[in-house]
């Protein structure tokens, strides 16, 4: 075996000759052994910078939410904007209430529909299976503007007044594909013989569904549900088209804040919302890989 110094000397010698193409196999090994010290450093640097890039704007808003003054000139620490957020922004909290109602309702329905469909698609081969898979994929990739506009035109064509109901329908539609994919991913890890055992032991399809399948894939269902809640709470573009008077959601309210004059209350709100996001992501920590895969 060569000692460390030996490799150094050797590879130094090699590197001087490295312009000459054919190098012997041990020479290549030696050179790479040396390179491995800082191997992957480029990709790690890019990753670090990217994470910094993703967090920097958020950090700036959070820091300035504690600024006493209004602008971006630091003027001393204050919790004034938080006080205004929690005690002086009634409209904001009304819109938050609307958002919560819609989020849980549409997440609930999309979880129910998506879970059933995922079970069907995962275990059975039937006519229309490809249709189901394709159709569940499209809303995920079409730009939000298109989904929003098509829904707006659809609702006005069938004379449904815009409001909470139309937002609920639209949110269920764009949450469904994600729940479907999350549950599908969970089903892939599922041991199919359990179902067979249940059937062999005389369980009906309904009993199998509620006593065996659903409990077994509960983590997948719950994470799908939480993701649907997050996406519904987050959506602005689609909601923008299908909302009517009196159905302002939180993102719509934030939009009007951003568009028509920035109040630092929005910085305070940002911090609260980032904390909320972190909380949800923490709840879903075991499913982050599935979430990444469904994107």
């Amino acid at each position: 075996m060569r000692n460390k110094q030996g490799i150094n000397v050797y590879s130094h010698f090699i590197s001087r000759l490295s312009k000459k193409k054919p190098t012997s196999e041990p020479a290549r090994h030696a050179r790479r052994a040396l390179q491995n010290v800082n191997h992957r450093s480029l990709s790690n640097t890019v990753l670090t910078l990217s994470v910094a890039f993703l967090f920097l704007p958020l950090a700036v808003t959070v820091i300035y939410s504690f600024n006493r003054a209004k602008g971006m000139v630091w003027n001393g620490f204050s919790l004034g904007w938080y006080q205004k957020l929690f005690f002086g922004s009634e409209k904001l909290w009304t819109s938050f209430g609307n958002s919560i109602i819609i989020a849980f309702a549409s997440a609930g329905l999309s979880t129910a529909l998506g879970t059933l469909a995922a079970i069907g698609v995962n275990w059975y081969r039937f006519r229309g299976r490809t249709y189901i898979q394709t159709i569940s994929f499209l809303p995920m990739v079409l730009p939000e503007v298109i989904i929003g506009i098509s829904m707006l035109i659809f609702f006005s064509a069938v004379n449904v007044p815009l409001g909470m109901l139309t937002i609920f329908i639209a949110h269920t539609t764009f949450c469904l594909p994600f729940v479907f994919l999350m549950v599908l991913a969970r089903l892939d890890e599922f041991d199919f013989s359990i179902i067979e055992a249940a059937h062999d032991l005389g369980a009906s399809e309904k009993q199998t569904l509620f006593r065996v399948i659903v409990p077994a894939i509960m983590p997948g269902i719950l994470s799908g549900f939480m993701m649907a809640v997050t996406m519904s709470l987050e959506d602005f573009v689609i909601t923008f088209f299908v909302s009517g008077p009196g159905s302002t959601t939180l993102p719509l309210y934030v939009f009007s804040m951003v568009r028509y004059g920035i109040s630092p209350v929005i910085n305070a709100l940002s911090f609260v919302m980032i904390l909320g996001t972190m909380f949800i992501a923490f709840l879903l920590r075991n499913f982050l890989k599935n979430i990444a895969a469904s994107k």
Partner: protein, 296 residues
């Protein structure tokens, strides 16, 4: 196998999948169908359409100003997508080889899930005339007049990359995570240079992830609305903004529908390409490994 046996005895596929299929047909396909129909109709006076088939909307689209807008949209989309993918590739690689994957995913997903308007607002607070950068530079005396960092094309591209970078990183990470990195070692042992091992071994194996990443950045950026509206100037309007203006302000629904058609056709083509790629990929790996699993 047990699966086949069950398939033979009873098949509940349709009743299970039926509700979701109906929902999508009613609230996704039908609205898209209506848009397609409307794009061939005559414009109504106050929104809506008159039921007279015409190609007016498509003729209006031939207006050169729309042509310029379309090209600019493609340019911005192309630049932002290429930047996102170029950044996402090393990121996905580093994440896949990292021992702290959950933490890193957490770090990528948090900004990703934070409300998009909150993130746009953060950039306005940083780049604006009275924003963080300008105020800081003024304070240390480097500038007196504000730098015009916001409301231009570069700001739009910067913020678009910021918004859609996670969309690019996540699928690339997923694909790289499944890659067997000892193959890289093998390639190097067999005499490949580092770039060779990357381009000839790693990238072809994560191709489906890269395609997914391109689709998930290109399509939403192509239809972007909020970012050009809030951080762009009048000259950085994109096709999404025109569509929305046609719907809400001008109320020319056939024209808006025709524009939507274009975006939909471009997106659907992308999806078909992606599904084709993953199907081919699946077929190839199935042939290679003799594995039997057709699930998506």
């Amino acid at each position: 196998m047990s699966r086949q046996k069950l398939l033979a005895s009873r098949n509940y596929g349709i009743p299970y999948s039926f509700p979701m299929g109906i929902w999508f047909s009613l609230f996704f396909l039908l609205p898209i169908g209506i848009i397609i129909t409307y794009s061939f109709m005559k414009k109504g006076l106050h929104g809506g359409v008159l039921w007279q088939p015409t190609l007016d909307a498509y003729a209006q689209m031939l207006n050169p100003s729309y042509g310029r807008l379309f090209i600019r949209t493609l340019q911005v989309t192309f630049i932002s997508t290429v930047l996102s993918i170029a950044i996402a590739l090393p990121c996905g690689y580093a994440m896949a080889r990292s021992k702290m994957q959950t933490l890193l995913l957490f770090l990528i997903i948090i900004p990703f899930w934070t409300n998009s308007l909150i993130r746009i607002n953060a950039w306005i607070a940083i780049l604006g005339n009275e924003g963080f950068i300008n105020e800081t530079l003024r304070k240390i005396g480097l500038i007196h007049e504000s730098l015009p960092l916001l409301y231009n094309q570069s700001a739009v591209i910067l913020v678009l990359v910021y918004m859609y970078l996670p969309y690019a990183i996540l699928p690339i990470f997923t694909a790289m995570d499944k890659f067997d990195f000892s193959l890289l070692e093998a390639a190097r042992d067999l005499g490949a240079t580092k770039p060779q091992s990357m381009f000839k071994v790693l990238l072809p194996n994560v191709r489906s992830g890269i395609v997914t990443a391109i689709i998930f950045t290109f399509i939403p950026i192509f239809g972007a609305y909020t970012v050009p509206l809030l951080v762009g100037g009048k000259d950085s309007y994109m096709i999404g903004n025109i569509v929305v203006d046609q719907v809400t302000k001008v109320r020319n629904w056939p024209l808006a529908s025709a524009f939507s058609m274009i975006i939909t056709v471009v997106s659907t083509a992308g999806v078909l390409w992606m599904m084709g790629t993953s199907a081919r990929e699946a077929a190839r790996s199935k042939a290679a490994l003799g594995k039997q699993d057709g699930a998506l």
